[in-house]
């Protein structure tokens, strides 16, 4: 079974975000890049699926500049068999990224596609849906369990709903499955894996190679803004009775929580 895992390289969760002068992007110098944590669950699910089926291969795919190869090497160090890099300069929107991914999935003859339910950088949670649409595959997100039938044509998925609700989904394959935290515990890239990943040949395509040379992004991030600074706390003066009265008033009128 050809298992494809879509990964995105994102800034480390502890990054102090700064915005570029033109406000179209964030400063990427000095950023420590990691694999999107939700995509790590997807890699693990891909590896687990292969182990359960006792056959097949796991191919990780990413779209981005040269630095994103590092994310692919980490995935290979975790155990992925193959890696595909769509090399791009500049920022692509979700549409163009998804077009590129869809072309790669066709080339790789994808039989199941795993990815994280969203990336922790822009939180758009969009790529899995775009890719499914472009490939005309079914898709489901926020998946916390995935069982594949023995003949590999069906999958039974468990989708997490609000307040512990569960939704069981039956889907035909191929499908795009966007996973949530809790589906598994991702393994570490092992030291032998890291040594192997060093030598692994990574398949590289450009947008031209994928027949997308004349395509352009359809949306542009025009104005990044940092969240407003948190206002300083308020100290309520007076004796206990006055303080409580004032606190209740503020909770009701300002915070509007009671």
């Amino acid at each position: 079974m050809n298992i494809i895992v879509l990964v995105k390289q994102v800034p480390d969760t502890e990054t102090k975000v700064r915005i570029t002068a033109d406000k179209h992007n964030i400063e990427t110098n000095d950023i420590k890049w990691i694999i999107n944590p939700y995509d790590e669950f997807a890699i693990e699910e891909g590896l687990k699926t292969k182990e359960r089926l006792k056959e097949g291969s796991v191919t990780v795919v990413t779209v981005g500049p040269d630095r994103t190869v590092e994310a692919l090497r980490t995935a290979v160090a975790m155990g992925a068999d193959n890696a595909v890099h769509v090399k791009t300069d500049g920022t692509l929107d979700t549409y163009l990224v998804s077009r590129a991914i869809a072309e790669v999935c066709k080339k790789e003859n994808a039989q199941i596609i795993f990815t994280g339910k969203q990336a922790i950088d822009d939180d758009q949670a969009a790529t899995f849906g775009y890719v499914a649409e472009l490939l005309q595959y079914p898709s489901a997100s926020v998946i916390v369990k995935c069982d594949i039938s023995l003949n590999k044509t069906q999958a039974t998925l468990e989708q997490e709903g609000d307040e512990g609700a569960k939704n069981i989904i039956e889907t035909s394959l191929p499908a795009v499955i966007a996973v949530n935290k809790g589906i598994n515990t991702p393994r570490y890239a092992s030291l032998p894996g890291i040594m192997k990943a060093k030598k692994k040949e990574i398949k590289t395509y450009t947008l031209q190679d994928l027949g997308l040379g004349s395509e352009t992004s359809k949306t542009l991030d025009s104005d990044y803004q940092l969240p407003p600074e948190r206002a300083a706390g308020k100290k309520i003066a007076g004796d206990a009775a006055t303080q409580v009265k004032e606190l209740v008033r503020l909770l009701r009128e300002e915070a509007k929580v009671i």
Binding site: E70, R73, T74, A77, Y188, A189, S190, L191, P192, G193, I194, M195, A197, K198
Partner: protein, 382 residues
Amino acid sequence: MLDFSLSDEQVALRDMVRKFVQQEIIPNAAKYDETSEFPREIINKAWQTGLMNIAIPEKFGGLGLGVLGDVIINEEMGAGCLGMTTSIAVNTLGLYPILLGGTEAQIEEFVVPFLSSPKLASFCLTEPGSGSDAGSLSTMAKEEGDYFILNGSKMWITNAGHADLFTVFCTTNKELKTKGIICLAVPANLPGISLGKHENKLGQRCSDTRSITFENVQVPKKNLIGKMGEGFKIAMRTLDRTRTPIAAGAVGAARAAMNYSKNYAKERKQFGQPIANFQAIQFMLADMAVKIESARLLCYNAAWLIDKGQDEQGSYFSALAKRHAADMAMEVATDAVQIYGGYGYTKEYPVEKIMRDVKLVQIYEGTSQIQRVLIARHLLKD
């Protein structure tokens, strides 16, 4: 050209170990410190992740990574828990004598099984009456037919209670002093081996430390590592390779102490402002950084020399690294507790544990005084 950068793989290794430490070691460090329980589960995970036995050459199915690999791993693990670091890293100490002095058949028999399951090896040099003066050891190996008959006691043996294999340094003739010392590979299941209790230590409490007694233990002659009389040399060559990773563990522990106290100093307010605003605190932090960075450079330099095959210079630099790293880590940890004040003296905060843990680095694998002896001997030799 001089280049201080790590390779991509070394960076990947460091990041992987850092993540392992954050997820597996740090959340459990205080618990194991309190109970002094052996962290078997974490050792097994470290083995599974490939963090152990990395020196086994590629031709035997290992990774053949040099001392720098162990230095990178140990700095990261030391930043999480030095006790676990010791128990995880001690296989290197237990197996190097065989890798350095053993035949291919001996490596196949005794070392290669460590690649297929999380086995543990202990290095048995120190005795109740022979510590820094290792050459005066008195555990006897008497030749009898196809066997050496082993009698004597060893002291402070790391992982002894859980080891599958002991590399034992013993003498065939005490009058020959160091020239009478041999090295034997002793499977832990041989009859006549008894273990002391798990020592209740000040720090590194989860690392298993015991005495061992050998009473008429029959060790097959084929388990002799190296030639007769080569044991002491094998032990010293082993320590030349493990001293630097041990030093790197102290660098990691000191780094953690600095980071904890730095963050605390930014939060703790006195006299209406964060104590990080005061020069008294700033100078402590600045001195910590100088000590840590210089110790790390010495570790890298020593590892680089040994990995390049420059054993003599490497031995000298490993002594420099161990002396500096152990002593500076003790200073850094003490200052970290000082920055935390009364809170730092309690188990609610992580710095008192680091202070207790790093003390041992000034003692084990050659005290800071013995490192000075090695350094001075090198300086004065001609």
